[in-house]
């Protein structure tokens, strides 16, 4: 199925009109999207068509990675009704990873995802963002350029065109284009307002953005100089780490209910303290900061989508997401794996090829 639906209006208006129509016609039972809540912005699940007015589905902010939330909603089974889900491409990729890891269900969900210009710093979010910061952002996006003040990992993200979305949206000031990628999308958009025509997403039109993203990625990796870290560099960079584990709790991939690093098993017992102090003559308290970060990379780096949530919540501004993007990229390349690309493809660590990786064994 392919097709294109053009709806007039500013991005949030046009998608709201579309979602309202879907709810009215009974083709979907609910909408999961960003909405204003008091002074904040959060994901909302809405079933009443009147409440659609409170949604701002294409707001360029990410208060929380939606994959996390969708996993909480669908962990014990699919939702009872059909839900249209409006999330960003990296959230969708993280969700696909969670489905592969049996932490979420894709059933009954219709995914609508925009071609993404990145998200703005959520800490700076104020209710007047729509008038103040968003217009500049939209202008840059219309020129297919990186906007100012987007997350560092967004600047370096090459996967801004959604993978696995049923409907891809190109947000624009005057009219939004909805590309229908699947039969499911074709089915629900029958009779929707707007001009329906043939057409497929023209990826070539985003070459300029792709170019600057690639250059930014190279620059980010070069500036990080991760290979020069060694143990000294790690101690220096994570020296400010408070051990709040915020990066872990917002990470969509870190789903373990009984996390190894939260467990008492990792606490030093008096004999361990004694042996460590005999060896070193001093110890950071609590210990295991480097262990935590290195360990987390080996546990979830393979599925890291680089959404940038971890840096956003870090109270001491450690560039966690850049470090994870870089090291995740390295380990993903070992297995030629792109997280969230194919829902059927197993996570590399849960499968194997008999004849491979001979360079690491002997």
């Amino acid at each position: 199925m392919s097709g294109k639906l053009k709806i007039k209006g500013d991005p949030n208006d046009s998608i709201r009109g579309f979602l309202r129509h879907l709810l009215e016609s009974g083709k979907i039972d609910g909408v999961f999207a960003l909405g204003k809540t008091g002074k904040g912005l959060n994901y909302l699940l809405v079933t009443d068509k009147e409440k659609v007015d409170e949604l701002y589905p294409l707001f360029p902010f990410m208060p929380e990675n939606a994959a996390n939330l969708l996993s909480r909603l669908t962990f014990s089974g699919p939702l009872p009704g059909k839900i249209a889900v409006v999330i960003k491409p990296c959230e969708l990729r993280a969700f696909v990873e969670l489905v592969k890891r049996e932490q979420a269900s894709r059933d009954n969900l219709v995914f609508i995802s925009p071609v993404c210009g990145g998200v703005l710093d959520f800490v700076q979010y104020k209710n007047d963002a729509l008038e103040k910061s968003v217009p500049g952002y939209m202008k840059s996006f219309a020129k297919r350029e990186n906007a100012e003040n987007i997350r560092p990992t967004c600047r370096a993200c090459e996967y801004f065109i959604p993978i696995n979305a049923d409907i891809t949206v190109i947000p624009a000031e005057e009219a939004c284009e909805f590309y229908l990628n699947t039969d499911k999308a074709g089915e629900i958009t029958k009779g929707a307002p707007g001009d329906l025509s043939d057409g497929e997403l023209d990826e070539a039109a985003f070459e300029p953005l792709m170019g600057s993203r690639k250059a930014e990625k190279e620059k980010l990796f070069e500036e990080l100089k991760l290979e020069d870290y060694g143990i000294k560099g790690l101690v220096e960079v994570f020296g400010k780490c408070l051990g709040c584990h915020g990066c872990m709790s917002v990470c969509p991939i870190c789903y373990c209910a009984l996390c190894a690093f939260e467990s008492k098993d990792n606490e030093f017992t008096p004999p361990v303290f004694e042996s460590e102090l005999t060896k070193r003559g001093g110890l950071r308290v609590p210990p295991n900061t480097i262990f935590y970060h290195l360990g987390r990379i080996t546990h979830m780096g393979i599925s890291c989508v680089g959404c940038g949530m971890c840096s956003d919540v870090c109270p001491v501004d450690i560039p966690v997401s850049s470090i994870f993007l870089r090291s995740g990229d390295a380990v993903q390349k070992v297995f030629d794996y792109l997280p969230g690309k194919d829902i059927e493809e197993p996570v590399p660590l849960s499968t194997f090829i008999e004849d491979e990786l001979t360079e690491v064994e002997d």
Partner: protein, 145 residues
């Protein structure tokens, strides 16, 4: 890189050895009265795939000079395919070490079967020599981990 100072340095190598192959191989090396350096501290695990990458990171950060993971040869795993998973995890960990400029030579994955007593002695001898050249693990002196 070997200096005079390192000549009397005996590395501490932590060995995570699989019960069915490498640990039995180590036993065979002993009963065959083969000589090898007293540098390895064997920890028996039921399968090499029991070894979480965290065990290796923790060993190295806590000051072990090296870690050896020993398992059955590919295709010979007592549990059919455990060692294939081990190999993938190990490749990932090695990549993480390389990415952060940590010394990935300090971790090693070797396949040693139950009948390869001499190979066990040879792997330990050879690896001990290599770690002696690398010198003691400096992370053992690092306070702010």
């Amino acid at each position: 890189m070997a200096t005079d100072k390192n000549n009397d340095f005996t590395p501490n190598i932590i060995g995570f050895l699989c019960n069915w192959c490498t640990y039995t191989g180590a036993d065979l090396a002993g009963t065959s009265r083969l000589q090898y350096p007293p540098s390895i501290l064997p920890i028996r695990v039921m399968c090499s795939s029991r070894v979480d990458p965290l065990f290796l990171i923790s060993s190295i950060l806590r000051g072990a000079d090296a870690v050896l993971v020993g398992g059955c040869h590919p295709g010979d795993c007592h549990y059919q395919k455990g060692n294939y998973y081990t190999r993938r995890r190990f490749a990932l960990l090695k990549k993480v070490f390389d990415t952060f400029g940590l010394e990935s030579d300090r971790i090693r994955l070797s396949w040693i079967s139950a009948s390869e007593g001499p190979r066990f002695a040879q792997v330990v001898t050879e690896y001990t020599g290599k770690i002696k050249e690398l010198g003691p693990n400096k992370y053992a002196e690092e306070v702010f981990l």
